[in-house]
């Protein structure tokens, strides 16, 4: 079919555009244009990478599937700690860093995914507001558990984690993760999940095993949050379980909603923008959250679907619109 074949061509275009973006960014970093602040800004960019992954993963759950998670930081935490423990064990085995990085991400993702399945199966049949409370409880249980186990630092800071999060690696890991999420959404899985959000009774009446798809999406969302957590751990090199508290979960959810539930573009831009803010506005940390909460309120009252709504940025879409405009002008002349 004409429409479906086109997509493969657009994938190549998008890939080239991302490569160009990457080359531009690294060129800026390497050229010294930013002077002494280069490392600092590189750090922010790396932070943006894992924040984007986590926010997008939460959007998958909350935006596309319409289920609440106020405990997403819990999945990050599981990913962060499990990956840190594994890399600590493997650190002196002479494994090249890039491989270690990939292992860390996969371990974090899988650990979080496993937790996702365990939590998801019994709880996903609960009503929306109850599920929200359960997710908070879950994240708190994770926090208390990690505070009490010696292997995770026993409530003190766990430090000495190998620094593996180089900007380029993080950038490409982020690209891969976002691509996977995008492909998931634009397939029968995404379609099913949105149908469940729209009307789960009608979805069941259309032959869909609602519980299965809910748990599946929940697990995938947890998987990517775990990857984000692993990236976090190997960038910060030190962390404490209370870093992944309710406040952080609430912040992530705010970012998803303001950016636009159901729009991966919104999550990317929102996360990138909002993760650079804390650094820029360090002394205004509390004002930042205050402003978020007011913005969130306005979004809820006036545009509940978020700033970007369900809009997805499409490079080829812009090209074809431009192309049509040029064609029209030529015709008029």
């Amino acid at each position: 079919m004409g429409k479906l074949k086109d997509k493969r061509w657009t994938y190549s275009i998008n890939f080239i555009a991302i490569c160009l973006l990457f080359i531009t960014i690294t060129a800026i970093f390497n050229s010294g244009v930013l002077g002494i602040r280069t490392t600092y800004i590189k750090g922010i960019a790396t932070t943006a990478c894992y924040t984007i992954i986590v926010v997008a993963s939460l959007n998958l759950l909350t935006g596309f599937m319409g289920e609440f998670s106020l405990g997403h930081a819990g999945f990050m935490s599981v990913g962060a700690y499990s990956s840190a423990i594994v890399t600590n064990m493997l650190s002196d085995k002479g494994i090249p860093d890039i491989l270690l990085f990939i292992i860390a991400l996969l371990v974090g993702g899988l650990a979080a995914a496993l937790t996702g399945v365990l939590v998801g199966i019994p709880t996903l049949r609960l009503r929306g507001d109850y599920l929200a409370i359960v997710t908070i409880a879950f994240a708190e249980i994770v926090r208390v558990t990690f505070c009490n186990l010696e292997i995770t630092g026993g409530g003190r800071t766990m430090s000495g984690i190998t620094k593996l999060s180089d900007f380029s690696w993080c950038f490409w890991a982020m690209v891969i993760c976002i691509t996977c999420m995008y492909m998931y959404v634009r397939s029968r899985f995404g379609r099913t999940v949105v149908a469940i959000r729209e009307d789960y009774i009608a979805a069941a009446a259309s032959g869909i095993n609602v519980t299965f798809y809910k748990v599946l999406t929940f697990t995938i969302s947890a998987f990517f949050a775990g990857i984000g957590g692993a990236m976090y751990a190997h960038y910060m090199t030190a962390m404490i379980p209370t870093n992944f508290n309710f406040s952080y979960s609430a912040e992530l959810l705010t970012e998803v909603i303001i950016g636009g539930t159901g729009s991966l573009t919104g999550s990317i831009i929102g996360a990138a923008f909002l993760s650079s803010l804390p650094e820029v506005m360090r002394q205004f940390a509390n004002y930042r959250m205050l402003v978020y909460s007011v913005v969130l309120l306005f979004v809820m009252i006036f545009k509940p679907s978020g700033i970007f709504g369900t809009y997805e940025f499409s490079l080829t879409g812009i090209f074809s619109k431009l192309f049509r405009k040029i064609k029209r002008r030529r015709f008029i002349r």
Binding site: G128, D129, V134, I141, S247, T254, L296, P304
Partner: protein, 298 residues
């Protein structure tokens, strides 16, 4: 301490803790029962009440009034805050779906917490002693009489609320509203007023809860609200959300479990156990001990 004394002390502390949770849970359950909405910001209303007490108790003492009179000011402040939040934030999104309502409540919670952080600073504040009641010795355990007061006030309020909701005209209107808003309106009930009044009562209860909390734990921080709110929510759900006696029972049970786990099982894990209990209850019987199941009509 002898083991009997330890047991009795734990019982006493547990009941006190439970009574505080029960008072908070009553506020949650009232609002949920009428508006079918979990007011996430309820715990933060208590935080507001506590900070009010921090500032008004010295005032009261200066004027020569007993310290506990400041609860009246706290109640007024909490009620005003509660009603303002309802009118400004919750009313515009009413009917837009429970997810929107929940997020709006979350936004309000974050707003109140961060506003408090800016106004009052991050350092915890010590609330002056409210009740100067003596303590009594039972089986070697120390029973502070203000614990009895807390429990007593909780029971009195619960009975009063239950009677009000069952018998008073306003109470009946409050029960009719969630069942069928249109029919209620046709019966001459001003739904908006009812909801606002419900919120007012719930927030006033938060003021009382603040007083009781501060008399046991005389410290207020800006984040005290959310965690307390979560535990009280557990209590409300456990007892059956929407049920007033349920909130009382749920609160007492959660408080007892917390203290007993802290003392006898593992002090570092008590929170995890309380939360696991919540998840367990929600999975097995979401309607709680005294609650009723409501399912969607096809």
């Amino acid at each position: 301490m002898s083991s009997t004394a330890l047991f009795v002390q734990s019982l006493v502390n547990g009941l006190n803790q439970g009574a505080i949770y029960a008072l908070i849970a009553l506020g949650y359950t009232m609002v949920y029962g009428i508006i079918r909405m979990i007011n996430f910001a309820h715990g933060d209303f208590i935080m507001v009440g506590s900070y009010t007490l921090f500032y008004t108790i010295p005032l009261m003492i200066n004027v020569g009034m007993p310290a506990w009179m400041s609860v009246l000011i706290a109640i007024v402040v909490c009620t005003v805050v509660g009603i303002t939040v309802e009118v400004v934030a919750y009313r515009p999104v009413r009917g837009a779906g429970s997810m929107t309502a929940l997020i709006t409540a979350l936004a309000m919670s974050l707003f109140l917490e961060n506003l408090a952080m800016i106004l009052f600073g991050a350092n915890p504040k010590s609330v002056p002693i409210i009740f100067n009641l003596p303590s009594v010795n039972i089986f070697g355990a120390k029973l502070q009489l203000n614990y009895v007061l807390t429990l007593g006030i909780g029971i009195v309020i619960m009975i009063a609320l239950q009677l009000f909701v069952k018998n008073a005209k306003l109470g009946k209107a409050m029960r009719a509203t969630p069942q069928d808003k249109e029919a209620a309106t046709l019966m001459g009930i001003n739904v908006n007023h009812i909801i606002t009044i419900t919120f007012g009562i719930g927030s006033a209860l938060a003021g009382v809860a603040a007083l009781m909390y501060c008399s046991t734990y005389p410290r207020c921080t800006t984040d005290m609200g959310s965690m307390m709110g979560l535990k009280a929510f557990i209590a409300a759900v456990f007892g059956g959300i929407g049920s007033i006696p349920g909130a009382m029972i749920g609160g007492l049970i959660v408080g007892l479990i917390e203290i007993f786990v802290k003392v006898y099982i593992a002090p570092g894990w008590y929170e995890a156990i309380t939360y696991s209990l919540l998840i367990f209850v929600l999975i097995i019987k979401p309607s709680g001990i005294l609650g009723k199941n409501i399912s969607e009509k096809v």
